[in-house]
Amino acid sequence: MKLRPGSLDALLKTLVPAYGPPGRETGVRAALRTVLRGVGRTREDALGNLHLHIPGSGPRLLLVAAMDAPGVIVTRVESGGTARIDLLGGRGAAEAIGSTVLFADGERALVAYDRPASGKEVGALDSSSLYLATGYDKTAASKRFPVGSVGMLEARLDRLGDQWRASSLDNRAGAAAVAAAVLRSGKIPYDLHVIFTAQSELGSRGAMTGAFGVEPEMAVVVELAHVGEAKDQSPVTLGEGPCIGLKEHGYIAHPQALEMARKAAKAARVPIQYLVREEGSSDAGAVRRAGPGVPTVLIAIPARKTGGPDSLVHARDLERTVDLVVRLLATPPAPKPVPRARTPRRGGK
């Protein structure tokens, strides 16, 4: 079956498994370049972000989605041919156990662990208890998984009922939504910069420098927000529409930007929920603080954790997120109530 451009199914199938642990986002960058061919000019920057520029006469609008996925780095190879690792992002040691790790050259290994002494819970393990079962002896393992090798938790896309399941949905689902929105958009009344950020799992490093370089007048960040676990008091539900972020660690919504998002949701007939969380963060905080500061909208796709590395995302939420972003991109910039302080354009060679 031929899928129309901007089909989420097709985008997810391409983006979810693409190789791209933090700082080594080669595969997903190439996949995005292919998907976005002909839409605008793409380039890679110093931290590995992929930029897409669709020039326009309006104000500079920045659209952001992280593209890296949780990974591991080999810290030493042991005598038995196993390899000790550190985690690059992700949710902690316990959740990584049993994952297959995919390396850039196609090698695979399995995340195993030292069984904790009796009385200690598996959930309390840290990465020092993890190791890679490589299947090789020491000599071969040292050659194939040398110290510093970076791998990604292998991601397989599954459809379970109405929901998508994969370990890289945070934030490949967001990246797919952004790509779909760009592909489906008509004329955009902005000078649009899209950044698929690198190293978000390491503390929004790509977002920090990427947004600084673009100097946007407004930004929209599309992320995943895990909700609905037992301990979480958040009233957010899967399937009830995308969340608009009000507050999370390092981020608080900008009033005018928030209003714009609310109006766009109404116009697009997209039901929305609100995200307020004490823990957890996204690229939104880094973008919000970039340069002289950027009015930023955070759109978070509700997701559920599963105990392992996988996330579940409702297909309807994803479609509605795309609708919302498309509408935001089509909404003409509001007149500014207060003129922004004029800062001379930095840098540039």
Partner: protein, 360 residues
């Protein structure tokens, strides 16, 4: 083979050991790097095109490439080493003349008891007091005394007498003198005076690409100097020169004994502050192979350097770290193998040569 002969053949500058000796013997805990900076100024003044001290206290030197500024496409490289060392600060003086003090930077509290220190600019000597045996309980003997409970004794009989020799706020450095034995050199603050000396040696010769050499301040208390310097220099890429902790130690499994003192330049792939630029690592690896310079990897996941800060400055900067593996850093006396800094000079020099030809 003597280092000097290797250097002559390869065209790289020679590592100047007398820089290391002078820089190591000077005191410069974070925030108080002037004595070290003055020595570096003296060492590089005649060989650079422009030299300035910025508002943070970083020493910034610009050197145009051999063959002139107009080299098309050659990237502007920031080479960086930090001048500060871990130390202490005097926070209060007791009535009886003994000093209370706090850490400046990361220091293992287990190494403090009985150590001799230099306090303040006049170099007053002080020793960290130990309770005499007849006052020590069995319980206290087996515990590490937190720094808040320790005192530094400069031999003053009263607060007034102490304040004639030192001031509250004075910085405190290990009282260690540089020495040689075979290939091993002993000294304090090799993290990062060895990087400072490598960088000062590198700029003795006009580099193949435009270079801004920066000796930074306040690395040990949060890479603060580098943040300001990187914004101002705005380089195309950065290589940070460091002294890092070696892993070899009796009783540690062979796999964990990395990197090794004397094992050649140590290259960082990832630490808590940085995911090193893949192209730069590739460049360093290839250069080392071509020049037959042994290299080793720093254990990923630990530590952090100025490179992390530089990488995130402005719109982002590709960055890497090349270090000399030293035993016992952040402690009174570190060891290094004198072949290693020479190899770092060669590796970085030849990497700069490759950059002249090719940097995408």
């Amino acid at each position: 083979m003597p280092a000097a002969r290797v250097a002559k053949r390869s065209g790289a500058p020679r590592f100047e050991e007398h820089f290391l000796k002078a820089f190591s013997n000077a005191d410069g805990p974070s925030g108080w790097e002037a004595p070290v900076r003055e020595l570096i100024v003296g060492a590089v003044r005649d060989n650079v095109d422009r030299l300035e001290v910025d508002a943070m206290g970083n020493l910034v030197a610009r050197i145009e490439p051999s063959g002139g500024r107009s080299r098309r496409g050659a990237p502007h490289v920031m080479l960086c080493a930090h001048m500060d060392e871990v130390g202490f600060m005097v926070t209060a003086v007791e009535k009886d003349g003994r000093l209370r003090f706090r850490k400046v930077g990361g220091i293992d509290p287990r190494i403090l008891l009985g150590q001799v220190f230099r306090v303040g600019q006049n170099g007053a000597r002080g020793v960290v007091g130990v309770l005499p045996a007849h006052l020590l309980t069995n319980n206290d003997m087996n515990k590490v005394i937190p720094i808040e409970e320790l005192f530094l004794d400069i031999g003053a009989a009263s607060r007034e007498e102490a304040l004639q020799a030192i001031s509250i706020g004075d910085l405190v450095a290990f009282d260690t003198t540089y020495e040689s034995a075979g290939r091993v050199r002993k000294g304090k603050a090799f993290d990062d005076r060895v990087g400072c000396a490598v960088l000062a040696s590198l700029v003795q010769k006009r580099p193949p690409v435009p270079v801004t050499a920066v000796w930074t301040v306040q690395e040990e208390i949060g890479t603060r100097g580098a943040a300001a310097a990187a914004r101002r220099v705005a380089p195309d890429l950065a290589i940070v020169l460091e002294g890092t902790a070696s892993g070899e130690s009796p009783g540690v499994s062979p796999e964990e004994q990395q990197p090794r003192m004397g094992g050649g330049p140590t290259i960082t792939i990832q630490d808590r502050s940085l995911m090193a630029d893949a192209r730069l690592i590739d460049l360093l690896e290839k250069t080392a192979k071509r020049r037959k310079i042994p290299t080793q990897w720093k254990r990923p996941g630990v530590g952090g350097t100025d490179a992390g800060r530089i990488a995130l400055s402005g719109a982002g900067v590709p960055a890497a770290v090349v270090s000399v593996a030293c035993r016992y850093i952040h402690a009174p006396a570190a060891y290094l193998d004198i072949r290693d800094p020479q190899r770092v000079v060669e590796l970085v020099w030849h990497a700069l040569e490759s950059l002249r030809k090719e940097w995408p």
